[in-house]
Amino acid sequence: MKFLYYCAFLLLVIKLCACSAPAVDTSTVSVRWTHDPESLDPLLYLSSGNSTQAINLLYSSLIGVDYVKQVKVPLLAEALPTMRYTDSLTFITYRLRDEAVWDDGQPVLAKDVAFTLAVMNCPELPNETARAQFSFIEQVQFDSTDSRRFTFVCQGRSPEYEFSSGDFPILPAHIFDPKGSLYKIPLVKLRNAALAQSAAVQTFVQRYQQAQLAHHPMRLPGCGPYRLQKWEPGRYIVFQHKANWWGNRVTPTPVQLQAYPRTISFEIIPDENTALLAFRRGQVDVYPRMPAREFDRLRQSANAKKFAFFTSNSYETLTAGFNVRRPTLHDRLTRQALTKLFDIPALIAGTQLGYADRSVGLISTRQKEFYNDSLPLPSYDPAAAIALLRQAGWRRQPAGAWQRTTATGKTQRLALRFSYRTGEPAYEATALQFREAAATIGIPVALLPTERSLLDAQMKAGEVDMFLRSIGGNPTEFNFAPILHSGYIASGNFNAFGTPSSDALIEELAAAESFPRKRQLLRRFQKMMQEESPFVVLYFFRYRLAADARFTGLQVSGLKPGYNVMTIRPKQANAG
């Protein structure tokens, strides 16, 4: 017994020595993250959701997205750009806000934008993705009368250029390149690998790498509303609001420049159960992407009043894809038949607890102006599947298997391998449901749960029959080429789908600028995809988010990460 007394005494001493629970602090907002951002180097801006979110607190882009209205809004730029076209070039002109300054008080100027582009194209830096993403910008033209005005000269013409040309964080030129030895080099010349040997480039690369911005962004003045206060990898990352942030001087302050929390702390909690417990205890204020079951349970609990619950219709969809290179899946009738074997309402109820939305295709139902409501939703109908298989030439053998003979006299047997990512219960349930449904009409399906990167490599190499894939989208740009154009078969078009007419439609859609034209083409696109069925959209995810009820102002959105942490503020302050 003595031993137990000693233990109890020891615990009491530890408890007394340890700090008491923190007082309720509404100036700090803590958000649950599952993992650290990979890097805070703006060059690696496109690396992951968490990095992007963190970098957006430190640096500003020219334009951004209004989370609620889901439209483009100017950030560093005083207005959306003006576009001008010639036969082969696009000219995009911006002017920076007069109020925009760096942390050290220096104004944000056109040369900073030119410098950022030079960094993104500089040889010997880890900028491969940014370089590919912004390769359409050929030149930056300065305005001799206004140091804040500049024009991007872009190769070709695309509606995407308007947003893409302003969607990267701007870096200060006066720290690394005060004399302009780098940004004055034409971009076309800078992209040449031979320039890596030049003294100007080598000196710059050495200085940039020594700064180690990936983990020490405070070594460079930013123009975003926050500065990094502390980063303990694997534990937390804390951002402190800048007292003299230029956005506060813009009157009236537009929503996209509002930043309320004095401190934002992202708490790294990998396990969902632990995160839920921390949220219920008030150690975490915002819990994004809460699992459906826990979300419902908490909403129905006695403590539900302590929390605010949000859902938002995302643009992220789960699709089941067919590899059309496979002879058995080459014809559209077979693919149409197989889409009839997914019981989508049951999948939504079983795996998402109702927090998902059906759709006829890759356009969400919330985009009413573009959604083709004349098309039927995919339905579970094994009898129709059998009829379609017969139309496709398949005949059921006495033993139960489906076979057909091709024009060349070759016999095909309908048996499928269904690949999906491991560790995703929703994916597994979907594959199991499909296998059961297929078995009822005599189609054998082998399930192949596969490690994520291996699956991606197999899909890219065309080594799978059927696969589950999550596709991210957005409400404004409709460029489906990377996932459905025949020119991208070696890249992101894992279905290997692409006909001359579908390619032409996708190209036309990507280039469409007027609203009526976009609407018309998108409706045609949805109809064509339903007929061709290279994939079936199972559902659009709904983001679920819970926040402490002490706060208000949280903007939730269907766009990643699903919320705007900068607008959250204590309820009292709001009322006052």
């Binding site: 408890k15 695309s158 983990h215 534990r235 417990l277 150690q283 994520r452 740009e477």
Partner: protein, 350 residues
């Protein structure tokens, strides 16, 4: 003796080299583009880059990481019928020469030095695992001696230990959280981590240490409870065997009370078979406890290596394996040495 130690050291270095080289070569079997997929970036739908530009970007990334070099000195020719010789310009040579200079490479994920990542993770793992190991050893000794001297409780204690042993680690961790860190039951301990900065503003050093220890109570308890049954059951079994020996009977016949027989005679001999188990604890001290670290959100070695394996961050995986293999082999050498010290009948042979 010196000859034995030198030979043992040589074997150890050779074994570590073989293990780590094997892991390195296996990790490079996957094609570079597949290996780098978790690090591939950009949203497909928003991409303004063409397929050609994406391929160029991928090639640049592969070149920057040195994955465009041949993996080894010799590799099978594309026709598969012969072997190609590449000379010293290969990934293995580059990695080995870096390793000999103490450089374990750089993480694919965030570009940080692997040595720095491992050092940081060890700073969190060692306090957790060492304190748990010390507690486990102390409690095991105390419990087995207690059972030997209080026979009537032995059955109940052993039954309890068997039940504990049947609970998987992740269930145990969650149970502890739900019972002792839950506002609906007992919120005695923190739910995760090691405390944030906002909790420690203006805290004295004593409060900081107290807070650290307080946050470690549940993870340490979890590790102790999961490791305790094996060690106690083993120690108890050997102790029971020693209790039936002639020298123990002689001690009792001399009039020694049972606790003295255990403490001064049988316990020392019972410790012998436990040496292997004790030294086996050493590798897990540096390898961390992935489940506990994930559940309690501690950024230790286990979580670092599990994340690295899941994301194909091979430099970190190979660095972690090197460290763990080294400690495991050292632990085996230590076990041999302890056996030699503990039992004079054992003679070491090189």
């Amino acid at each position: 003796m010196l000859r034995y130690l030198l030979l043992r050291l040589l074997r150890l270095v050779l074994a570590v080299w073989l293990i780590v080289s094997g892991i390195f070569l296996l990790s490079r079997l996957l094609s570079p583009s597949a290996a780098l997929l978790p690090f591939a970036t950009g949203d497909l739908v928003l991409s303004t880059s063409s397929v050609q530009e994406q391929h160029v970007a991928e090639k640049r990334l592969i070149h920057r990481l040195g994955l465009d070099l041949p993996v080894f000195y010799t590799t099978p020719a594309p026709n598969g019928k012969s072997w190609q010789w590449h000379g010293a310009r290969n990934q293995y040579q580059r990695w080995l020469s870096q390793l000999l200079r103490g450089n374990l490479g750089y993480s694919y994920r965030d570009g940080q030095a692997v040595t720095s990542l491992l050092t940081n993770a060890l700073a969190y793992t060692l306090p957790l695992t060492v304190s748990a190991a010390l507690l486990v050893v102390g409690l095991s000794v105390w419990l087995s001696v207690y059972m030997a001297t209080h026979a009537r409780f032995r059955r109940y204690v052993l039954s309890g230990l068997y039940v504990l042993d049947a609970i998987p680690l992740f269930v145990l961790g969650l149970l502890l959280l739900l019972l002792l860190a839950n506002p609906e039951t007992l919120a005695l301990f923190p739910a995760y981590g090691l405390g944030g900065e906002r909790e420690l503003i203006e805290a004295t050093w004593l409060m900081r240490v107290g807070s650290h220890v307080y946050h470690l109570v549940l993870p340490v308890l979890c590790l102790v409870l999961v490791s305790l049954p094996t060690l106690v059951v083993q120690l108890d079994a050997t102790l029971q065997q020693e209790q039936r020996t002639d020298y123990a009977t002689t001690a009792r016949a001399k009039g020694l009370p049972e606790p003295a027989v255990v403490r001064w005679h049988t316990f020392r001999n019972a410790l012998l078979p436990t040496i292997t188990q004790l030294t086996n604890l050493l590798p897990s001290l540096v390898a961390g406890a992935v489940v506990v670290e994930v559940i309690f959100a501690l950024p230790g070695m286990g979580r670092l290596l599990a994340d690295a394996a899941a994301r194909h961050d091979y430099p970190v995986v190979v660095g972690g394996v090197l460290l763990t293999a080294l400690v495991r082999l050292l632990a085996q050498a230590l076990a041999d040495w302890l056996y030699f010290l503990a039992d004079p009948r054992i003679r070491l042979r090189a």
